[in-house]
Symmetry: C2
Subunit: 504 residues, 2 copies
């Protein structure tokens, strides 16, 4: 074996063991959020922070830097999108970035995230922004420091979003999200003025939990979530995680008086799970076996939740079964009525409860605000007024207090800036991908109507999942569609579906 080959082997062994530790940590976190006894919390925190420490030390150990420097000049990176090439390029990218952040800043950030979240919980409860303000100032100051340490092109915000959406920039987001906003605001106000808007009252009846579990599991299986490699459980704040290459766990929350919460929550998390299950097990924990970005991950959940799960064809297949399970609430509801109900658009205050269309405006205004905070164009003290003004301008609603306004999300308290846009990017990518899939696979509605979701799932796996992190989000999109990111596919999809449902 030559020297480069043996360095490669050392690197892979190291990374595989780090991934093994990571998968153990994931299981501990999953258990914490499903059925852990309440008094076990302290010991669980010790277990998780012990593993986090080991993982951090492994990720930043100087020997990896030496291995990567050696490999980066070898013939292995001739094709940076090949398994070996992408592994070296992506690991070196992460490593170099992390090494630029001083250890002191890493520690200050960890501390600030914990303190910020604690302060946020209290401030939100009391609707007291001023109590939270100093923590937000600290978080911003530390992240700005991080941006300076790491370096950036035009805006310090670019350095932050890069952690979640490699290669994305504030300029590009302003272009695409701005375009989307300019078209969405009038569309939503047009729907709001429709003479005969659909009603979603039928979704707010009585839906026994065991039957919700049944139809949720049925739908997740139908769209391709593999239960021999996964499970579905209940939790307070739904998510999707994995504890190994064949161990994918999705979680949902049931509301006995509202059908959509668990059903679409399950489809959403199943979409995430299907992406993870489509990653290559033989590359587990390595860049070719890792998701491309948060935006691409979100595109998979949104595509199954909305473009599939809120389509008429989907319900043509599944509505009879669903109606039979919930005779109390649905026996006199028609397919058309139900399909319109799950697509009702209604501007509201709370992001996590928003419908498919208005959701994007919740995200766009957060992006605009946080970018201004990071660059300093907006002072932290002025955030609540700016927040309320934008809610009024984009959605026509005004928060009654800061708890349901500027304090509603955990992200900023945890020093996450640049994370919000990935939610909207998910919708944008999903619309691009769905359009390309239709072009290649023919009429998808025809397939959904027959309960056939495998062709779409396989197409997504072949075109997206299997590539892991070998391409950037923009490169993935270009390979699939030949296009650059645009708001048009999403806008066309929303208009095409919603206008007829609203009789416009």
């Amino acid at each position: 074996m030559d020297a480069t080959e043996s360095t490669w082997n050392r690197l892979i062994e190291h990374e595989t063991e780090t991934a093994l530790l990571g998968s153990i940590q994931s299981l501990l976190a999953w258990d914490e959020r499903t059925g852990m006894p309440p008094k076990a919390a302290d010991h669980r925190a010790e277990q998780i922070s012990f593993l986090a420490g080991k993982i951090h030390a492994r990720r930043t150990s100087p020997e990896i830097g030496e291995w990567l420097d050696e490999l980066a000049t070898s013939s292995m990176v001739a094709d940076p999108h090949s398994d070996r090439g992408a592994t070296i390029v992506q690991l070196k990218r992460d490593y170099d970035k992390h090494r630029k952040i001083p250890q002191r800043l890493v520690e200050e950030l960890s501390r600030a995230e914990v303190l910020g979240q604690q302060a946020w919980v209290e401030a939100r409860k009391a609707s007291d922004y001023e109590r939270f303000q100093p923590y937000l100032e600290t978080n911003l100051r530390l992240r700005r420091e991080q941006a300076e340490a790491v370096g950036y092109g035009k805006s310090p915000y670019d350095a932050l979003i890069d952690d979640y959406e490699p290669g994305e920039t504030a300029d590009n987001l302003r272009r695409v999200l701005g375009g989307l906003r300019s078209a969405l605001v009038p569309l939503i106000s047009e729907l709001g003025e429709a003479p005969a808007p659909p009603s979603d009252a039928c979704l707010q009846g009585y839906f026994p939990v065991d039957r919700q579990q049944k139809i949720g599991k049925r739908a997740a299986k139908l769209i391709g979530f593999d239960f021999s490699r996964g499970r579905l459980d209940e939790t307070a704040h739904p998510f999707c995680t994995e504890a190994g290459p064949h161990d994918h766990r999705i979680l949902t929350r049931y509301n006995v008086n509202f059908f959509s919460q668990a059903f679409y929550g399950t489809l959403h998390e199943a979409g995430h799970g299907i992406y993870d299950q489509g990653l290559r097990p033989d590359q587990y924990g390595l860049p070719p076996g890792t998701f491309a970005s948060l935006g691409i991950h979100e595109s998979q959940s949104r595509l199954w939740e909305n473009m599939v799960g809120r389509s008429r064809a989907f319900w043509e297949f599944l509505f009879d079964e669903t109606r039979q399970l919930f005779p109390d609430s649905l026996s006199s509801v028609s397919l058309d009525h139900f399909h319109a109900a799950v697509n009702v658009v209604r501007p509201s205050l709370i992001r996590v409860e928003a419908d498919e269309a208005t959701y994007n405006l919740h995200i766009i205004l957060r992006f605009e605000l946080e970018e201004a905070l990071v660059t300093g164009a907006l002072a932290v003290a002025d955030l609540p007024d700016a927040w309320n003004a934008k809610y009024e301008e984009y959605l026509g609603v005004t928060p009654p207090d800061h708890g349901d306004g500027v304090l509603q999300d955990v992200h900023w308290s945890a020093a996450l800036f640049g994370y919000f846009p990935t939610y909207a990017l998910g919708n944008l990518y999903a619309a691009h991908f769905f359009q390309s899939a239709e072009q290649e696979l023919g009429d998808l509605s025809e397939q959904f109507r027959r309960g056939e979701f495998a062709p779409l799932r396989k197409w997504l796996t072949e075109n997206i999942h299997r590539h892991g992190r070998c391409y950037s989000p923009a490169q993935l999109l270009e390979r699939i569609s030949g296009e650059t990111l645009s708001h048009e596919p999403l806008l066309n999809y929303l208009q095409g579906k919603l206008r007829p449902l609203y009789g416009l």
Copy 2:
């Protein structure tokens, strides 16, 4: 700080971290046996064996040996039963023993355990003892080698049982278990000839699982299992485990047509759980916070399952509730009838299904056989005949095939020799302890009748749980009762309960 104090701190830090890893490993194993997706098994094995390797390396690292040598000559061991004294003495005992076993033998044993269990699964399915025989021979040879390496007093069997029941010997077991056998065989045959034996047909009706869960959880809580520090789940092969000082998990299995399986299974595991919950959290993972022996652990499960859970007073409190939950099967059953039903004695072939009285004979014959195997007095080829002869002699039953005979237990295939006696020791200790508790606490039946189980639980915690491994099982018994182990308390208890129920 003086040098000894600083060595002590290093030792405790080391052991605490090892315990943290052990608690993570436990959670992985718990998850594997509750809801892990089937295809996740290979990765789970990797996770567990990775941690097992780390733990093993930590337990046998030479620096601990040096620390323990230093501490063992310090004033800290002046009282070997104090927290520090016991910690040093017990850790040194384990360390010295482990260091005597050559690494090659450790590895051969791990391999033999896996291969043995795989062969056993197949051999049992096919009722084919000869297929299993070579693996049993290997397991015995390796354990004999271990006994020679570790050293022993009179019998190589002593070196093996010491792993599970510190200080126990084959001679002592022969004395006590022999005494029990001589008295039990005639008692059981006397019960078998009783003119009007009780019937347990009422336990074999229809018992919906959700209601079994309800009454099982109710009973576990009643006897003192703390659900804020634990949980109850379902599994194929019930057990009790912990993933931290405040995280105790018990598991049971439901049979919709047999009440006793899950109910007594739950009480049994809750008894184990109560012991673990009674250990001192501040000594987690250290000898003062670790259970004394498998026999003492089993004494706690058996005491709650049998001496409490099969007592008339227990059912005087809980029968009405139980009957209301299962009207189909129990509405016309009287308390006396039900109490007799849960105490029916019936010689049978399968250990894990045996009643409270005959169970001991299943264990005694296994002890006699495995001791003879270890010393070489019995050839492996002759084991099936010896097995069948003893079943005929002690229980009056003959296995129809080896699958339900000599191949019924996993233990020998996993190279566990000296483990079986701890099940009978549990019953023997339980009878001693229950007798002492009654002497100190007054009429326990009177308390049970009122649903008061806390005084007994607290007595057990004070007298047994809180001492962890600071005393050997024999020392614990001596401190509590002034007695040495005898078969008489158990025999008196069984006779006193069973004779009247059988009209003798």
